[in-house]
Symmetry: C2
Amino acid sequence: MKQSQMLIPTLREVPADAEIASHKLLLRAGMARQLASGIYTYLPLALRTLHKIQAIVREEMNNAGAQELLMPAMQPAELWHQTGRWDVYGPELVRLRDRHDRSFALGPTHEEVITSLVRDEINSYKKLPINLYQIQTKFRDEVRPRFGLIRCREFIMKDAYSFDTTQEGLDRNFQAMYDAYTNIFTRVGLNFRAVEADAGAIGGKGTYEFMALCDIGEDTIAYSEEGDFAANLEKAEVVYKPAQKPASEAPAMEKLHTPGVKTIEQLTKALQIEAKQIVKSLIYRVDDKLVMALVRGDHELNEVKLKNLFDATFVGLATEADILSVTGAPAGFVGPVGIDKEKVEIIADNYVQDVFDGVVGANETDYHLQHVVAGRDYTVSRYADLRNITEEDVCPRTGGAIKFARGVEVGHVFKLGTKYSTAMGATYLDENGRSQPMIMGCYGIGVSRTIAAVIEQNNDENGIIWPVSIAPFHVHVIPVNVKVEEQRQISERIADELRKAGVEVLFDDRPERAGVKFKDADLIGLPLRITVSDKAAEEGMVEVRVRKTGETALVKLQDIVAEVRAMLARVDRTGAELFGV
Amino acid sequence: MKQSQMLIPTLREVPADAEIASHKLLLRAGMARQLASGIYTYLPLALRTLHKIQAIVREEMNNAGAQELLMPAMQPAELWHQTGRWDVYGPELVRLRDRHDRSFALGPTHEEVITSLVRDEINSYKKLPINLYQIQTKFRDEVRPRFGLIRCREFIMKDAYSFDTTQEGLDRNFQAMYDAYTNIFTRVGLNFRAVEADAGAIGGKGTYEFMALCDIGEDTIAYSEEGDFAANLEKAEVVYKPAQKPASEAPAMEKLHTPGVKTIEQLTKALQIEAKQIVKSLIYRVDDKLVMALVRGDHELNEVKLKNLFDATFVGLATEADILSVTGAPAGFVGPVGIDKEKVEIIADNYVQDVFDGVVGANETDYHLQHVVAGRDYTVSRYADLRNITEEDVCPRTGGAIKFARGVEVGHVFKLGTKYSTAMGATYLDENGRSQPMIMGCYGIGVSRTIAAVIEQNNDENGIIWPVSIAPFHVHVIPVNVKVEEQRQISERIADELRKAGVEVLFDDRPERAGVKFKDADLIGLPLRITVSDKAAEEGMVEVRVRKTGETALVKLQDIVAEVRAMLARVDRTGAELFGV
């Protein structure tokens, strides 16, 4: 492809509104343009990469036994009413009315559509299991679209849905998808971890998120370097290791005047104690009841764990009025001592048991209690794992050290169970003629987000560094001066020979200065750059430069095809897969 | 691909709401399912065909020098305000508001988006011409979605937009697209004509529609069997050949009492005359003025020609009140005699000149005038070609006979000119540093509609008859009884060998009766069917059947690959292209 004929509007300036590397580089390398907040046009270079990722996704999904179909973006509201999601999805769901005033959603995901399709077309165990997928444009009206292709309102997703008759069947499909995703993200050149995650609003148990590791990630991952444990912060289990009880019991409880002292930080300063000596008391509304949740002052309560403990559908901090009504005091002075358990249930994180001489709120404005002992001065209905893991905790699998990393979610595999099939009547007749709900799994990949994640992991101050497998082209051929006829001819010949050998070439035939062309080449970031100078005509040699390492080699013209293929095989593991022998 | 693992829900019943062959067959062959009116899911078989059509479109577009990108479906209303189309597009434009109450359209077409992109990224003649295309899901809230994939509310389109500095440049791009479309529709196996068409609301002059010829077409095409003339009814030029003036002039004009006689049909009966002796007078509102248009009683006024004559943006029949105010009579009794030309301009179709002794309305309820002569009894401001062509007219190119056919529009090439570039400020600096508007063309293909058009042209009472190039698979391998181990093994071996030879195979491994499998095979309509019976094991022979002709051949197992490839090459011209030697 001749660069002069391709729309690659590179930019010298760093766009003002782009905060992260991939966003800046997608704009600067002339790959994407924003049309509206969170809505982008993919220019020709980006589309080539997108198509390559899609091809890898298709290949792995088909190999895993999934079948591709294509569902509509416009989905009738009636379907969403059947699962109740029309009401619970909130403003993220893009809604519209047609000319007949009928309501539609623009699909952010397709559980409703696929479940209704399979319900209508499959009714016997003989036709199950089945796993159906599509690669399609999705719509989510994000409250804060940002980071370029990382968090968009219109984006491209691969979504798959499996239907089984048994839990073991679901386990097999789930494992096949887990393996396919591992292959896919390996093949596109990502550094990723599959982490245990919480199912969130979509429901179901047994889910993994595939996280591309990078600093800009919105999620924190806790992982162990020994073994394969990796989990979202919200999901990571905290192992309770009881502390040694001190020899002497704490003195009797005592009330302290602590005017205006409300936060843990203020308390540690005012009383000259450590945060771990304090017990935080938080009042939550959990569905229709009020709960006081206790955690140690140096720990963070985990709302997901709280929600799961009660198997609740709603968890949120209680209102000031609620807090006042059950404790008699405002937030900041709340504590478990003397609470009326008819009004509020008290639960506590396991580690609260270790606070043998603690400080809590006195349920009275400007007062706290010290020398408080659980069991002696107050009781709780149960202890449980209710807090976020920290880097001082241990791996629940190996007992080894826990590390934290940031990650961007690029894939997600879910066990849905029968949530949607039951709601929508997707049943089949089993071997005994009995009607049973199908057991479902769903599996998503953020296809367009993957472009950004790969760039986020593969760039330097000069631009993108594409993995060979999804680079828009493999090689950038650049004559130093295209107006020198011999340089031009040799460049064209090289481009031609490489193309015939299955190497994709971008030929920079623009009448620009060499410096401009080299800068653009670094920005665009194709794996290899071939520079054709007068040396080519005079000595029959061209320079081949590896974008990733900066290494250069002088290569004889007659060796160019073999040498380029060999160098591509050495660039990275994705190049080895494509060009290795 | 094993049929047991593929979602192909064939139907025995003809779906009640499907009127036309392609709609019935897409449903019956298990290729598509309706989600909502005009909104369909493409099941795996249809998606394979869709992908093949897309690959052909891509190849031809790229060969023609166009570059692929991908624009968003969600388009900010501001862009549509810039061209004024937000107001004129009407309810066909799907509109929505985001969570911040900003208005968006779901793209029915992308002139606004592409023009704003090119405006922002290209500013010099050095970067022009350029031709950009995408294959994308489009949305149009059709008033009457129907005919399955023919007229949808959500559909897949290829749209391309060219930008040039000169009219000659546009002509070249236009011709390149015309040629690419000819290749594309030939390669997918369509019987089509490129017909001259009117540009309609989108504007611009010089447009062709690529029409697939089939009876269910909503458009009528006038064409000549000599030469290549083909035009939409609305566009086809009518050549005026004046009739011989009779020797004696008509008698003096005379008023007739014609109570309740309003239509041409009633008049011919009441007065015992032919329709061609009557002059119809129709009052139109043309932008902000009223126009009386005269056509012969046996002719149809063509509103497109009327609109073009006045270079108007709006043409519509006048209201009863308007008619009364300028003629003093209601519709049905209107005529050109004695009209106040301050209130209404009178124009006439060329052929009205030939009515040497005519009948017209008397501008008085229940009265007509007879023996009316143009020029003597009334005058018009101009004569022009204002009517639809008929099969009695002649070809404007060759003078030969005109035939009519029905067609479904599958492609459209437009010369837009500077309409959008001027409205949106898409200018470039020319060689002299002067700012000029870019000259645009736009070029669409109904990709999903093409599936339906191909089926419409290629089917019989048993099902679809796929052209080789876009068949979901090339060959259907069917063991008569899959439970007979030898049949199964031979079938698998054949499927395997064919696959290795680049022939796509659907292997019917379902434990169904042979009759059911044959019926499904005819319905699905793959080009060749290979039946594996006991003869295969006993005599080493299988039967190969050509779906299109019903011919069968007994083929030796060792010859199967060569023979199947040779037969595919003979099925149709698309097979010859893929498998010919």
